[in-house]
Symmetry: C2
């Protein structure tokens, strides 16, 4: 197999939204799969995916999409995984790889794991990439370029399956990191889940303020607020499911955040300027590291 030969015959994408459609485009454009098909529970979304020409076939029936597939990637919201796990169970074949792109990873093992017999390989994945837009029309093939993809295969997973999934993500431009699902969920709680929760909160607080009009909040958003609104425009169902499925890590991280916020609040109330300045100086250096790591 050369570096440019397809890695898979047929990839079935379950759920063809922003990430699913970006993956479908990338798998075709970078020659990873001979054929890409999708299943989505919405007939309208299926029609849109066909119209966009990003899949060979779209269907509302998961078994139809799985026919002939050597890789099935779950790209629907994490809350649907238990149901999808049941739907795929009767159609699994020896040697198939089952993966996903969910933002929480312990829940994948919990919801999909029990449905898989020996010989079917579960290699959960999480591309750390996205935009605030949703739907198949929002996707693009280069979304994963220069981004990280975290794989969390459970202990004992077939090494060949992990290698194939690593090769897939590398081929479409990502750098792959392998870690335990529980560790993933703690790291992402702080780098992604808490930032989203905070952004959703502050945008809600702003829109509820009765003494400032909504138009003023929008007018003067360039002072910092607008950066939060981009994050708070992310898909509501996807994020509902992330918070419900990474509850412990999110609540723990949130508790630490609240303690830190209370300390700064107290410093403001008591006019402790030096404490504020020291804190603000420390956080500045983190930004520099992110720029240096080319993740800015």
């Amino acid at each position: 197999m050369t570096d440019t030969a397809p890695l898979f015959d047929r990839v079935a994408i379950i759920g063809i939204g922003l990430i699913g459609s970006s993956l479908a485009r990338a798998l075709t454009e970078y020659g990873v799969a001979r054929s890409v098909v999708c299943a989505d529970r919405s007939i309208d979304v299926c029609a849109k995916a066909m119209e966009l020409g990003i899949v060979e076939m779209a269907t509302t029936e998961i078994p139809v999409a799985m026919d002939g597939a050597d890789l099935v990637v779950l790209c629907s919201p994490v809350g649907s995984f238990a149901e999808v796990g049941e739907a795929i169970a009767p159609h699994l074949r020896e040697g198939m790889i089952i993966s996903d792109v969910g933002s929480v990873k312990q829940a994948v093992l919990r919801d999909i794991g029990p449905h898989l017999p020996d010989g079917v390989h579960l290699v959960p994945g999480h591309p750390v990439a996205g935009t605030e837009h949703s739907g198949p029309e929002a996707g693009f093939a280069s979304l994963f370029q220069g981004r990280w993809c975290i794989l969390t295969p459970p202990p004992g997973t077939d090494a060949g399956a992990v290698e194939k999934m690593t090769a897939l993500w590398r081929r479409i431009g990502s750098t792959v990191e392998i870690m335990e699902a529980s560790h993933h969920d703690r790291v992402l709680a702080i780098t992604s889940h808490l930032p989203h929760l905070i952004a959703y909160t502050i945008v809600g607080t702003a829109s509820d303020l009765e003494e400032t009009t909504k138009s003023e909040v929008i007018k003067f958003s360039a002072g910092g607020f607008r950066d939060f609104t981009r994050i708070a425009a992310s898909d509501p169902v996807m994020w509902r499911d992330i918070f419900l499925n990474n509850r412990e890590a999110v609540l723990d991280t949130l508790q630490r955040f609240t303690e830190d916020l209370t300390a700064l609040q107290r410093a403001i109330r008591w006019g402790e300027g030096q404490q504020l300045q020291d804190h603000f100086s420390k956080t500045r250096t983190i930004r520099r590291s992110i720029i240096d790591a080319k993740q800015a």
Copy 2:
């Protein structure tokens, strides 16, 4: 006076950092002033401003910069205004306009107002623009293009002076809004000050987490965290002064934010998915409004 004639003979910029140097550049480039000079308490910053060629003269002595100036604009951190007010007091002349670019506005009236005799016009201003970078080398003439500038002249301010400052900001690309200082401070508390406080907090929380390494936080920052780090890289002294000088409005807004965050925290803990989804759907529409208002 035609639309392109200079509005001022000589403008003295006090404090030549990101905003001061951007203003100096813009006043020259758009022909607003015949001459722009600056005072800065750092001799190194003065030398840098001269080297960049953005002022006709730079000095550490405020009275020297004020000589012959018909407009003095305070661009130093808000916490320095009481001291600067004392320094400029003996050198004020009939007809002079005193302005500033501070992010809080009631403090300007408090700290500068008492030093000004009748016939000297105080027109406080706040360009809602900036970047996370600091210093004279970070400035650029187009920083204010397409942004809002809020003027908060106290009741009874000379109308001609307000008109001239309005014309200045329009000439360099901004849209001017006039409001009361106290209203400004409440609006900016939610659109700018609280977002910065939250960003500073979460970046600090992340860097203190012992179970995830700092390199992991940086690696996977594209999941949302990096948007906060940009804001949390803003000038530490400037932001210390903003929080200390808009204490009441910031603490009040923070209290509302904390209540809202607690409600979402509770919804996560008790698995109330519908409440989360409803909240996240509401915030999404705010983003759309900001894009429509061309402030994204």
